[in-house]
C-alpha cells in the first residue's frame, strides 16, 4: 500500500471526506468515547505528568543510544536462535521477507496488525510471489474484505466505518445473513469461526512489534483480540517487522510504556493480551515457530534521527493525538492520504515521504496543542508542525508568492506603529461601505476567504490608542 493512498490534491481529499456523513459520525462518536476513557485511565496512575516525563526519558534515552541498543537487540535475537535483517529501504525489507517465504515454499501468510508493513507495502509484495495474505486483526480484516479499503487510524484502522457498514461488508463478502444482527459481538463471533480454519493452515506468520526488548532479544505485541498470539504460535515460520526506533532497554521500561500505551490508546489499564516472544521455539517449549526472523526497517528514520524532527521518533503509536485532534475529527484519516494520519501523521508523513505530495499536512492544524497535551511521551507535536511550516517557507521556498508578499507587508506594518495606525485607518475607510450592522459579509482581497464562512467586524472609528490619548488629555486617570 505504501505510505501514499492516491494522487488527489489535499483539498480534494478533504472535500470528499467532509461529504461522508457516516464516516464523520463514526469518527466523532469514537473521539467522544475515547476522550473520557483516556482521561480516567491516566488519572488512575496518579501523577500522570511524572509518568509522561518518565516515558519521554525512556524514549529519548533509547534514541540517544540507538546504535548501542540496535546492536544489543540483534545480538540477543541471534543468541535466542533468531535471524536479524536490517533493511535500509522498503524494497530491501520486502525482498528479504519474500526470500524467507519462498525458501519455505509457503503460500499462506497470516498477519497481525502492523503499520510498518503497510508502510512498505508488504502485502502486495507477497501477493506478487503468489501468496495469499490474511489480515487477522478484525479492523484490518474488514478493510481487506472491503476491496482493500485503507486504514484511517493507526490503532483502529476501520474506525471510519460503523457497525451497519461492517455488517454490509460481511453480507456481501462472507454470506452473512442479510437479516442478521449488526451487533458488534455477533459480527465478531461470526468472523471468528471463519478465521479459525485459516489460522490452522497458515505457513508463515507476520507481525509488527510494539516494542523490541534489547537485553533479551524479544519482541512484544499488544492486542485485544488475541490474534497475534495465534499468528506467532501456529505457523512454523515467524517474521516480525519493526521500525528501527521501536526499542526499549529491558522489560522494566517496556512495562512503563505498555502501561502508558494502552491507557492513552484506548483508555484501558491493559489490553487483553500482551505477548512477549523470544526467538523460535526451544526444545522445552510446547509451541512456537521453528524459525524466527526480525526485520528492522530504516526507511528514512536515520535521517530523522539526525535532524530537528528527532523527537517524532519517540512515538509509541498510541494515537492519543489522533483521538483528540479537532481537525481529524472532521476530515477523518483518509484525508491525510497517508497510512499515518492525525497530528502524528501530519508530522511524520512529510518526513518519510517528502514535501512534494504532503506539504499541506503541516497546515492542517489550528496549532491548538491538544495533540501535544495528550502525547504520553511528550512529543511537542504542534511545535513540530510549526517547524515543518518554517522549513517549507524559509528553507524550501514552497509557500505561495502572494502569501510571501502579504507576510512581508505584515512584517513592515507590524513593526511601525505609525504605519500601522495610518494603515488601519485607511482600511476602516475602505471597509466601511462594505459593511452592514458593523459587520462585513462579502470581503474582498485577503478578507474574502474569511467572509466565505463568517462575517468580519469593521475597524472601529476610534482606535483604543486614540481613546486612551483623549482620556489622558482630559485628565482622566
Amino acid at each position: 500500500m505504501a505510505i501514499k493512498y492516491n494522487d488527489n490534491a489535499f483539498k480534494d481529499n478533504v472535500n470528499t471526506n467532509l461529504e461522508r456523513d457516516f464516516m464523520r459520525g463514526a469518527v466523532t462518536s469514537a473521539q467522544n468515547r475515547l476522550h473520557g476513557g483516556r482521561l480516567k485511565a491516566v488519572d488512575e496512575l496518579g501523577d500522570w505528568e511524572e509518568w509522561r516525563k518518565h516515558g519521554e526519558e525512556i524514549r529519548q534515552h533509547v534514541l540517544d543510544n540507538l546504535d548501542y541498543y540496535l546492536y544489543e537487540l540483534s545480538e540477543n535475537v541471534e543468541k535466542a536462535g533468531g535471524h536479524v535483517f536490517f533493511a535500509q529501504t522498503p524494497e530491501e525489507a520486502n525482498a528479504y521477507i519474500q526470500s524467507v517465504v519462498q525458501k519455505q515454499q509457503a503460500t499462506r501468510v497470516l498477519k497481525s496488525k502492523s503499520m510498518v508493513t503497510e508502510e512498505i507495502s508488504l502485502n502486495e509484495a507477497l501477493e506478487e510471489i503468489g501468496c495469499t495474505v490474511l489480515e487477522t486483526d478484525l479492523g484490518e480484516y474488514i478493510l481487506q474484505l472491503d476491496d482493500h479499503d485503507k486504514p484511517s487510524h493507526i490503532v483502529a484502522p476501520s474506525v471510519h466505518k460503523n457497525r451497519f457498514q461492517i455488517k454490509e461488508v460481511f453480507v456481501k463478502k462472507l454470506g452473512y445473513p442479510e437479516d442478521g444482527s449488526a451487533d458488534a459481538k455477533d459480527l465478531a463471533r461470526f468472523v471468528r469461526t471463519i478465521l479459525r480454519d485459516d489460522y490452522m493452515q497458515a505457513e508463515v506468520g507476520i507481525t509488527g512489534c510494539n516494542f523490541a526488548i534489547a537485553d533479551s532479544g524479544s519482541i512484544s505485541l499488544v492486542t485485544n483480540e488475541g490474534n497475534a498470539g495465534l499468528v506467532t504460535t501456529i505457523p512454523k515460520t515467524q517474521i516480525a517487522v519493526m521500525g528501527m526506533e521501536r526499542i526499549v532497554p529491558s522489560l522494566e521500561e517496556m512495562e512503563v510504556l505498555v502501561n502508558m500505551l494502552t491507557r492513552s490508546a484506548v483508555g484501558q489499564k491493559l489490553t487483553s493480551y500482551v505477548n512477549v516472544i523470544t526467538g523460535p521455539k526451544r526444545a522445552e517449549d510446547v509451541d512456537g515457530p521453528e524459525e524466527f526472523h526480525l526485520v528492522i526497517l530504516d526507511n528514512g528514520r536515520s535521517d530523522i534521527l539526525a535532524g530537528e524532527f528527532k523527537s517524532v521518533l519517540q512515538c509509541i503509536r498510541c494515537a492519543a493525538c489522533v483521538n483528540v485532534c479537532p481537525v481529524y475529527r472532521h476530515i477523518g484519516g483518509h484525508s491525510y492520504n497517508s497510512i499515518y494520519s492525525g497530528p502524528i501523521g501530519a508530522v511524520l508523513t512529510p518526513l518519510l515521504a517528502g514535501y512534494d505530495d504532503f506539504k499541506e499536512l503541516p497546515y492542517a492544524s489550528s496549532l491548538c496543542g491538544a495533540c501535544t497535551d495528550a502525547c504520553p511521551v511528550k512529543i511537542p507535536l504542534h511545535e513540530l508542525l510549526l517547524k515543518h511550516r518554517q522549513v517549507i517557507v524559509e528553507k524550501e521556498g514552497r509557500a505561495p508568492v502572494s502569501e510571501g508578499l502579504m507576510m512581508k507587508g505584515f512584517s513592515v506594518g507590524a513593526s511601525n506603529s505609525t504605519l500601522f495606525n495610518v494603515g488601519t485607518k485607511i482600511a476602516a475607510a475602505v471597509m466601511k461601505p462594505l459593511s452592514k450592522d458593523q459587520m462585513i459579509s462579502k470581503g474582498v482581497g485577503p478578507l474574502k476567504d474569511w467572509t466565505d464562512i463568517r462575517d468580519f467586524p469593521i475597524v472601529e472609528r476610534e482606535k483604543l490608542r486614540d481613546w486612551f490619548d483623549k482620556r489622558e488629555k482630559k485628565g482622566g486617570k
Binding site: S366, C368, G369, A399, G413, A414, S417, R454, V459, R465
Partner: protein
C-alpha cells in the same frame, strides 16, 4: 501597581470595548495603566505561518516597547503565549535573548494577573445573564491558565453559568488556519456554535479576541441569537 497594557492589534483595532473594559477594570482594582504607543502586533500571524524571520521584526519592536515595564498585562491568552515564546525565538540572538526573557517573565494574561498577582477573586461585577465559556486553546494548554477565568466568573453576581459541551475542542480559528483551511475551519466553528446554542446561554464568553472574532463572526453569519463577549467586558459590568 503600574501596568503596561499590551492591548493586542485585534483589540486596538476591532475590539476597542475589550480594551476599554480592561483599562477600567484594572484601574478599579487599583492599578495605574500605561499604554505604550509604539506597540503593534506580537508577530504571531507570521510566526505561526512559518515566517519566523519575518516575524522577528515586529517581535523586536514589542520587546523594545515593553522592556522597561513593571508588569505587562494583555486581555488575550494567545498573545500572552506568544510573548512567552520570545525567549525561545531569540535564544540564538545575543542582542535580544536576554531582553526577550525579561519581557516574557513579566507578561500576564488578564484573568491570571487579577487572580494570581493582584490576588483578587471577586472584582465586584454584576452580570444578569446566562453564559457559557469557551476555554481557548493557547491560553489553557500552552499558557496553562485554566482556572482563573472560572474563579472570577464564579463571583460575578447575577451570572448563570452553563458548561459548554466538548469545550476542549478548538473553535477552528488558528490564525491563518481559518482562511488557509477554510472548509475545515468551518466545520470546527460550526460544531462550537452548535455546542454553545445547546447550552441556551445568551452569551458565549471567551478570553481571546481571535477565537471570539471567529465564533462571533460565524454566529452572526448564521443569524443566531447568541452573542460572544470578552470576559473583561463582563468583569467590568457593575450593577
Amino acid at each position: 501597581m503600574k501596568v503596561s497594557l499590551f492591548a493586542t492589534c485585534l483589540v486596538d483595532t476591532f475590539q476597542t470595548n475589550v480594551g476599554k473594559a480592561t483599562v477600567e477594570l484594572l484601574e478599579r482594582l487599583g492599578c495605574e495603566i500605561e499604554f505604550p504607543r509604539s506597540q503593534v502586533c506580537c508577530g504571531q500571524p507570521a510566526y505561526n505561518s512559518g515566517y519566523v524571520e519575518k516575524a522577528k521584526e515586529p517581535m523586536r519592536k514589542m520587546i523594545d516597547t515593553f522592556l522597561d515595564a513593571e508588569v505587562i498585562v494583555t486581555p488575550s491568552g494567545s498573545c500572552a503565549t506568544m510573548f512567552k515564546e520570545y525567549p525561545h525565538v531569540f535564544k540564538d540572538d545575543p542582542a535580544y535573548a536576554e531582553k526577550a526573557q525579561i519581557v516574557a517573565d513579566k507578561t500576564y494574561e488578564l484573568t491570571d494577573f487579577i487572580v494570581n498577582v493582584l490576588k483578587v477573586e471577586d472584582v465586584g461585577a454584576t452580570f444578569n445573564h446566562k453564559i457559557t465559556y469557551h476555554p481557548s486553546c493557547h491560553m489553557t494548554r500552552l499558557l496553562g491558565v485554566k482556572d482563573a477565568p472560572f474563579t472570577l466568573l464564579n463571583n460575578v453576581k447575577g451570572l448563570e453559568f452553563i458548561p459548554l459541551p466538548y469545550s476542549y475542542n478548538c473553535c477552528g480559528f488558528g490564525g491563518t488556519f481559518s482562511v488557509k483551511m477554510g472548509n475545515i475551519s468551518e466545520q470546527m466553528v460550526d460544531e462550537k456554535v452548535d455546542s454553545a446554542i445547546e447550552t441556551e446561554a445568551e452569551y458565549l464568553v471567551g478570553a481571546d479576541g481571535g477565537c471570539l472574532m471567529n465564533i462571533g463572526g460565524r454566529m452572526h453569519r448564521r443569524g443566531e441569537k447568541i452573542k460572544t463577549i470578552h470576559i473583561a467586558e463582563i468583569l467590568n459590568q457593575q450593577a
